[in-house]
Assembly symmetry: C2
Homo-oligomer: 182 residues x 2
């Protein structure tokens, strides 16, 4: 881990701690940096604002988590890791999704999941030496799956991650298997 | 058509006309009622506020449109009617989706589509004399489809309804056929 990411991780972990313990709108940049034992200015050396921080946390943490398994054939495992991650951070993500000022985080969440599905679909076509002749159709299909999935995950987090991740993973993979022709 | 709905329809049509011709936030209740040739108070005899009006318009108009075909086996035709309706009203719905104050209309849009899909699924199980034994699984499946579909429609409207409704209908039904095991 490079030095820059180390600092970012410490800021992230302080922020996540604070979110679980007080209302997001009451958390100032000074609070975050006090908690992390850094000067206030250091925050702005790494992030533009709170929104920049929350999007970095999500992308960085799920990228770290799924790095070694990010391949088409592992999609079930990746989904499990994602569910597990959200469950472990359920208090944090629930508060994030409910915060009006960070409202567009939901769009970022959907966008990130869409990028992931897109990446897996590209890899699938490449691995199978298939030229994707139905570009428009594939795009609509990817969006359909990504939107369905991310909205389901959003609701699951708002509902307190019930049923638990292992049971929900079984349900979701079944729904996707039933609907997938890849 | 009863008298009450007649008045509501006139108010709705004035509002839709105004939305296509000036920014939504500049449209007052007085403007709407002047356009409809009614007293301002009459608005409040029928609607609570603008949000109440826009949700009524959407539900009323698509219900009228799909009333005679609202059956499981006609889902393709119903989807076509919905796409066609959104296309005909694309300027109105694009402005609605982009208006920050009416932000939660998107949730209402999704909710309405989910109710429709739920209704069709219930009818399917009833018609086939099947007892739905996998309640949880069915619920997740319905949500998955409804969320995927409504987010796609939302984007389609924001993109100016391109490709046109007939081409997009072909694409969407293909995606749903490929993914449907009902």
């Amino acid at each position: 881990m490079d030095r820059q990411n180390e600092t970012k991780e410490l800021i992230a972990s302080s922020f996540k701690y604070l979110v679980c313990n007080k209302p997001i709108d009451k958390i100032s940049i000074t609070d975050i940096m006090n908690q992390a034992n850094f000067r206030r200015q250091t925050f702005y050396d790494h992030f533009d604002d709170k929104y920049d921080l929350v999007t970095w946390i999500f992308l960085y943490e799920i990228t770290e988590l799924t790095r070694s398994s990010f391949h088409w054939e592992n999609w079930e495992q990746m989904l499990f890791l994602l569910l597990n991650y959200l469950e472990k951070n359920k208090k944090y993500y629930k508060k994030l999704f409910l915060n009006v000022k960070l409202d567009s985080f939901k769009d970022y969440f959907t966008y990130t999941i869409k990028q992931g599905v897109q990446h897996l679909a590209d890899e699938y076509f490449e691995q199978n030496n298939q030229i994707n002749e139905q570009v428009e159709m594939t795009e609509v299909t990817i969006n359909f799956y990504a939107y369905g999935l991310s909205q389901l995950l959003h609701e699951w987090v708002l509902g307190g991650c019930l049923p638990p991740s292992d049971a929900y993973h079984k349900l979701l993979t079944q729904v996707i298997h039933n609907s997938s022709h890849f």
